[in-house]
Amino acid sequence: MKTSAIAITGFLLFGSQLSAQTVTDAQIASIVVTANQVDIDAATIALGRASSPAVKQFAQLMVTDHTGVNKAAVELATKLKVTPQDNPTSQALKTGGDKHAAQLKSLSGAAFDRAYIAHEVAYHQQVLDAVDKVLLPGVTNAELKALLVKVRPAFVAHLEHARTLQKSTTSGH
C-alpha cells in the first residue's frame, strides 16, 4: 500500500510537470538521463537486498539496459552540443527516486521484492506515458527523437517483465 501511494504520488508529480508544448530538447535530454539513472539507483539497491533470484536478475538487467541507454543519450547530447538542462520534471524524478530509495533501504526479504517490483511496474508505465504524451510530441531534433523511438521497446519489455515478476512476488515464491 505504501509503495502504491508513493508510486501514484510520483506519477502525478511527474505528469503535472510535463507539457509537450513547453519542453525543450535540452530538458528532454535531462529527463531521459535522470529517468534512467533513477532506475539504475533503485536496481543497485535491489542487487544488494532482493531475496528472489528472479528479482535480482531483473535488477541486473535494469542496471545493464538503462546504463546502455544513458551512454547513448550522453553521447548523442555531446555530439549535438546539447547540455542537458535541469527542469521541474527531472527534479521531480530525482526527488521521487530518492524517496523510493529510502523506502527500499528500510525493507528486506519478500517485502523488499514486492515493493521494488511494484514500483518498477508503476515507474515504467509512468515513463512510457511521458515518452508517448510529452517527450516524443515535444522533441524537435530528429536524432534525439530517433533515440527515444529506439529505446521505447526496451521500456515496454521491462514493463512486461516486471508485471510477470509482480504476479509471482504477490502469489509467493
Binding site: L61, T64, D65, G68, V69, K71, A72, K150, V151, P153, A154, V156, A157, E160, H161, T164
Partner: protein
C-alpha cells in the same frame, strides 16, 4: 542459384538422365550460406528463419541494450551481444528450434534447420 544449377544440369545431361543428374550429391549441394537475423526494437527480425544444415546464422544487435541468442535445445548460446555487435554460429543438426534472448524474456524466435 540452385534452380539455375539444376536446369543447367538437366540441359546438359538430357531428359532421360535428369533424375540421376539432379540427385543430391556433393556437387549439387548448395554451398553454405550466411543468414542474418537483426535484433532491433526488442525483437528478432525475422522471427523465423529456415536454413540448410551447414549454413551460418549471424545475429546483429541494432539495439542499445545487450541481447543474446540462446537455445538449450539447439545447444547454442551467444551470451551477451552488445550494441552494434554480432555473433555467428554454424548449424549442422536438422530440426525446428526455438530460441530466446536470455536477458529479455519477451524476445522469442525460431530457426528451422533442413
Amino acid at each position: 542459384m540452385r534452380i539455375r544449377g539444376l536446369r543447367a544440369a538437366g540441359a546438359s545431361c538430357g531428359l532421360g538422365l535428369l533424375v540421376s543428374c539432379a540427385q543430391p550429391g556433393a556437387t549439387d549441394r548448395p554451398p553454405p550460406q550466411t543468414h542474418t537475423v537483426v535484433m532491433e526494437g526488442l525483437r528478432f527480425r525475422p522471427d523465423t528463419v529456415t536454413v540448410n544444415a551447414g549454413d551460418s546464422l549471424v545475429w546483429v544487435n541494432r539495439d542499445l541494450v545487450p541481447h543474446s541468442a540462446t537455445s538449450a535445445v539447439a545447444r547454442f548460446d551467444s551470451r551477451a551481444i552488445g550494441a552494434d555487435r554480432s555473433w555467428r554460429v554454424s548449424l549442422s543438426r536438422p530440426g525446428d528450434f526455438e530460441y530466446v534472448c536470455s536477458f529479455h524474456p519477451t524476445m522469442k524466435a525460431r530457426v528451422r534447420v533442413r
